[in-house]
């Protein structure tokens, strides 16, 4: 039986790696992929807690997280295609049309 803390440690390390990708990479596609990685590390935590607490709600939450992630990716990639069509760049720092 693998202890719960190992799963939590794996989730934490994947989360930190994903956060590093979001904060440090310049290519907006890789930033989106790292975001997926962070969401998945949270899913690991939810399923692990669901197993060790013998409570199915963690798995239900994971299903909803997966649904919302699928929506987010579809809309984000559509926005990205439009931005690249208008601005011809994939760099995070140069996409500042809204002066953010």
């Amino acid at each position: 039986m693998v202890p719960l803390s190992w799963y939590l440690a794996l989730g934490a390390s994947l989360f930190v790696i994903g956060a590093a990708g979001v904060l440090l990479r310049r290519n907006v596609l890789v930033v989106l992929m790292s975001l997926e990685l962070m969401l998945n590390s949270v899913n690991i935590n939810l399923v692990a807690f669901s197993r060790f607490l013998e409570n199915l709600e963690g798995q239900i939450f994971t299903i909803f997280v997966i649904t919302v992630t699928a929506c987010e990716v579809a809309v984000a990639l559509a926005i990205l295609v439009t931005v690249v069509r208008n601005k011809a760049t994939l760099e995070v720092d140069e996409i500042a049309i809204m002066k953010g």
């Binding site: 039986m1 693998v2 202890p3 803390s5 190992w6 799963y7 939590l8 440690a9 794996l10 934490a12 390390s13 994947l14 989360f15 930190v16 790696i17 994903g18 956060a19 590093a20 904060l23 440090l24 990479r25 310049r26 290519n27 596609l29 890789v30 992929m33 790292s34 997926e36 990685l37 998945n40 690991i44 399923v47 692990a48 669901s50 197993r51 060790f52 607490l53 013998e54 199915l56 709600e57 798995q59 239900i60 994971t62 299903i63 909803f64 997966i66 649904t67 919302v68 992630t69 699928a70 929506c71 990716v73 579809a74 809309v75 990639l77 559509a78 990205l80 295609v81 994939l90 760099e91």
Partner: protein, 165 residues
């Protein structure tokens, strides 16, 4: 045996996650992300939730990654290959080290987590129980999720469509 499999899957998952962040070519990032998702699906099997493992492979590996690869191949990504990381990385690195350290301290200092590790030996529940919980207790969130999917579908089509001349 289970420990060996966990270490194998977790090791490959962490390595491929690192590859996602450091890879020069976005296609390589996407492929290593796919490897990472498959390892996470295997971990879901180890955790006794085969349904979520199948969903993970269907949605992430089947749909999301194919979408990513399509967009990568639609756009010209060669220009960005030279410089991978942003120039001012010091504040971001500080935040990351603080975040990782905080998680590690919380994990190691918690008294509840070791107690949980011995308590839950039983199976987490079958697909039948999962679907009963989903469609009985969480019916409204389920319907809202379907509306969210529809909105995302329409939104993506409208956003990506070329304007009529």
């Amino acid at each position: 045996m289970e420990t060996a499999f966990f270490l194998l899957f977790a090791g490959i998952a962490a390595l491929s996650a690192l590859m996602v962040v450091v890879a020069r070519n976005p296609v390589h990032s996407a492929l290593s992300l796919m490897v990472c998702f498959i390892q996470i699906a295997a971990l879901f099997v180890l955790l006794g939730s085969p349904f979520l493992a199948v969903i993970q492979i269907f949605v992430y590996v089947g749909a999301v990654m194919v979408l990513f690869l399509f967009v990568i191949m639609m756009l010209d990504v060669r220009k960005d290959v030279h410089v991978r990381f942003r120039t001012s990385g010091v504040p971001a690195l500080t935040v990351l080290i603080l975040l990782g350290g905080e998680m590690l301290v919380l994990l190691l200092s918690s008294e509840h987590i070791p107690a949980l590790s011995t308590a839950g030996e039983g199976a987490a529940g079958s697909v039948k129980e999962l679907s009963l919980t989903l469609f009985a207790d969480y019916l409204l969130p389920f319907e809202i999720a379907s509306v969210v999917l529809l909105v995302a579908l329409i939104g993506a089509v409208v956003l990506a469509r070329r304007e009529a001349e």
